[in-house]
């Protein structure tokens, strides 16, 4: 009991007479408080290391490479953070990302829909997939891991059956301006990623929706007793992730100038997003997480991939490092949150 009393005193505003803490210590404490901070340090440190190792790292084409490798994953990760915070996960989002440009292709080439409405329709269809994920999870009380494992395969099945597993070209009407907007232009990925990350950060931290998302993931029973419609919050977040998955898939297609059913079998980008969220400090148990952290997590992963490539290490040990990064950041996350709980931070 005496412990909590002490904590209470320390948490309170510092009394005026209190000796000022040293600046490094205060920075250190700020650090522990901001979950994103440690990831930011890793991102900067990696950048510095790769710059010193290879001059090519800091050239504009390479920076574009990095932002393009970060973008789609960061966009999905931003949505994934919301869903994880609400206490659920979506494994199917990568498959949705793979399916999305195909639906665009079907709509434009087979049904003569104009390019922009086609993209909007694709996003709506992605939202419906998210709705289905949410309804099954909330309505039938199937754990979302299982629900979305199922829909992952269903979506992949639809994709491979309808496309016969062959890549196709970007439809003619979607070439040009639209293609540049949605992924072909050098900085399109970065701009979209920053825009979406910024919006979702606001959504999570400054709106009722975000507050209810945290409440539902942090204390489901309590949130329900307070009258929050927990099912609605979860379903909404499933839909957000899915829409962002569809959007990221379209961006990828425009970037690589082709619509490929085999972009990682639909799981690579999903695992990238979950890894980015986890490295960024989001707890899989729900209740806490930050969108900015996930963005930085995605940046770290992209830097690693790119930098190791430049240095000439084969792509294979990348997974070793990715695995280690996930484990280290998870352990650090658990440890830091214990420190924070104890009020030492």
């Amino acid at each position: 009991m005496s412990d909590t009393v002490e904590v209470a005193e320390r948490v309170g505003a510092a009394p005026p007479g209190r000796p000022r803490r040293s600046i490094p210590r205060r920075i250190g404490e700020e650090f522990l408080q901001r979950r994103e901070a440690s990831v930011l340090v890793v991102a900067i440190a990696l950048g510095v290391y790769f710059v010193s190792a290879r001059d090519a790292f800091l050239t504009q084409p390479n920076l574009v490479n990095i932002t393009q490798a970060t973008g789609p994953g960061a966009i999905i990760a931003a949505g994934m953070v919301l869903l994880l915070v609400s206490g659920e996960i979506d494994l199917s989002v990568g498959a949705v990302a793979a399916l999305a440009p195909f639906i665009m292709h079907y709509l434009i080439d087979y049904y003569s829909v104009a390019a922009l409405p086609a993209i909007v329709l694709v996003l709506l269809i992605a939202a419906v997939i998210g709705l289905v994920n949410g309804l099954i999870t909330v309505g039938f009380r199937v754990p979302s891991f299982v629900t979305t494992l199922g829909t992952l395969n269903v979506v992949l099945g639809i994709l491979l059956t309808t496309s016969h597993a062959y890549p196709v070209a970007i439809p003619e009407p979607a070439q040009g301006t639209i293609a540049r907007w949605f992924g072909q232009a050098d900085w399109a990925h970065l701009i979209w990623a920053l825009l979406i990350v910024g919006l979702l950060h606001l959504l999570l931290t400054r709106t009722r929706w975000g507050l209810h998302t945290i409440a539902v993931g942090g204390n489901l029973l309590g949130a329900t007793e307070a009258g929050i419609k927990a099912g609605r919050v979860k379903i909404g977040n499933f839909m957000i992730v899915s829409v962002l998955g569809g959007f990221a898939g379209i961006m990828e297609a425009f970037r690589i100038h082709t619509i490929d059913p085999n972009i990682g079998g639909g799981t690579t980008i999903m695992f990238f997003a979950v890894s980015a969220a986890v490295i960024g400090g989001t707890a899989l148990a729900g209740g806490s997480g930050t969108v900015l952290g996930a963005f930085l997590g995605a940046l770290v992963l992209a830097e690693l991939q790119n930098g190791m490539n430049l240095i000439g290490i084969s792509a294979n040990p990348y997974f070793l490092i990715l695995g280690a990064a996930i484990l280290v950041s998870m352990i650090a996350n658990v440890y830091l949150s214990r420190l924070r709980r104890a009020g030492r931070a």
């Binding site: 009393v5 400054r206 945290i214 309590g222 007793e225 009258g227 929050i228």
Partner: protein, 264 residues
């Protein structure tokens, strides 16, 4: 008696509730005067939670009626009960550890300047309200996880009062709480009583401390109120004896003989 001096906030008449073959409540009669603090005691399984869940709209009774401020009401849901001014502070408190004190105070009743939350307004109002109620927290910005059990309970109570609860149901507010923290809650209940705007039913399993703040005590046994006395006319010993006597009776009772429960 104080109970009728300034009107009745709540009256429960002949409430019965069965779950399948189990009779949880057989015939409950209870009244709560405005501004009164009623202690509801009883052993595990006596039906306290069922009664509370009926009053707060979670369960519907099989028979009987409920009057709020003298008017008969059919309480359809928890939300409906809230609009009638009935609010419950559950044992789990319905607080979200990851959120700040002021966000918890306004949970699901957030102040918004669309599309964003009005954090500064909520922060200020929460601080003022907690000060008014004499609840001490280090800061309204602190995550609830960092507070002690007593502080958490106090915030949950303050939240209910803030949202205009006129009838407050406190479900075992002192459960698993140290003496110092318990005193904090008892003070809070006492303050509310002094203001006289809120009527309170305190459910207690271990009634020693609770009696200090109650005007009246009801004992719930086997789905009925079997005992109703003003606190000053009773004692902890008497209440303990009542509960223990039941055990003794149960132990000596022969199978098939029925016992104190009234079969209906």
């Amino acid at each position: 008696m104080t109970a009728t001096s300034n009107g009745e906030a709540l009256r429960v008449e002949h409430i019965a509730k069965r779950f399948g073959g189990v009779t949880a409540l057989s015939d409950v009669n209870l009244r709560l005067a405005r501004g009164e603090v009623l202690g509801l005691i009883g052993d595990n399984g006596a039906g306290k939670s069922t009664l509370i869940k009926i009053i707060c709209g979670f369960h519907q009774p099989d028979s009987g009626r409920i009057l709020v401020n003298g008017e008969e009401v059919q309480i359809r849901s928890v939300d409906h009960a809230r609009t009638l001014g009935i609010d419950t502070v559950y044992q789990d408190l319905a607080l979200v550890n990851e959120l700040s004190v002021y966000h918890n105070m306004f949970l699901n009743r957030e102040l918004v300047r669309w599309p964003l939350l009005s954090n500064s307004r909520m922060r200020r109002l929460a601080r003022e309200h907690l000060e008014d109620m004499g609840v001490n927290v280090p800061s309204v910005d602190v995550e609830v996880a960092k507070l002690s059990g007593g502080q958490r309970q106090a915030i949950a109570v303050a939240r209910s009062v803030y949202t205009d609860a006129k009838i407050l149901l406190l479900d075992e507010p002192l459960a698993a709480m140290g003496a110092k923290e318990g005193a904090l809650i008892l003070d809070l209940v006492r303050d509310l009583k002094d203001k006289g705007e809120v009527s309170i039913v305190v459910i207690a399993h271990n009634f020693g401390q609770i009696l200090e703040v109650c005007d009246r005590v009801n004992l719930l046994q086997h789905g009925e109120i079997t005992y109703d006395k003003v606190t000053s006319e009773t004692s902890i010993t008497e209440l303990t004896d009542l509960v223990v006597a039941e055990y003794r009776a149960a132990r000596t009772r022969r199978p098939g003989e029925g016992g104190p429960r009234k079969e209906r």
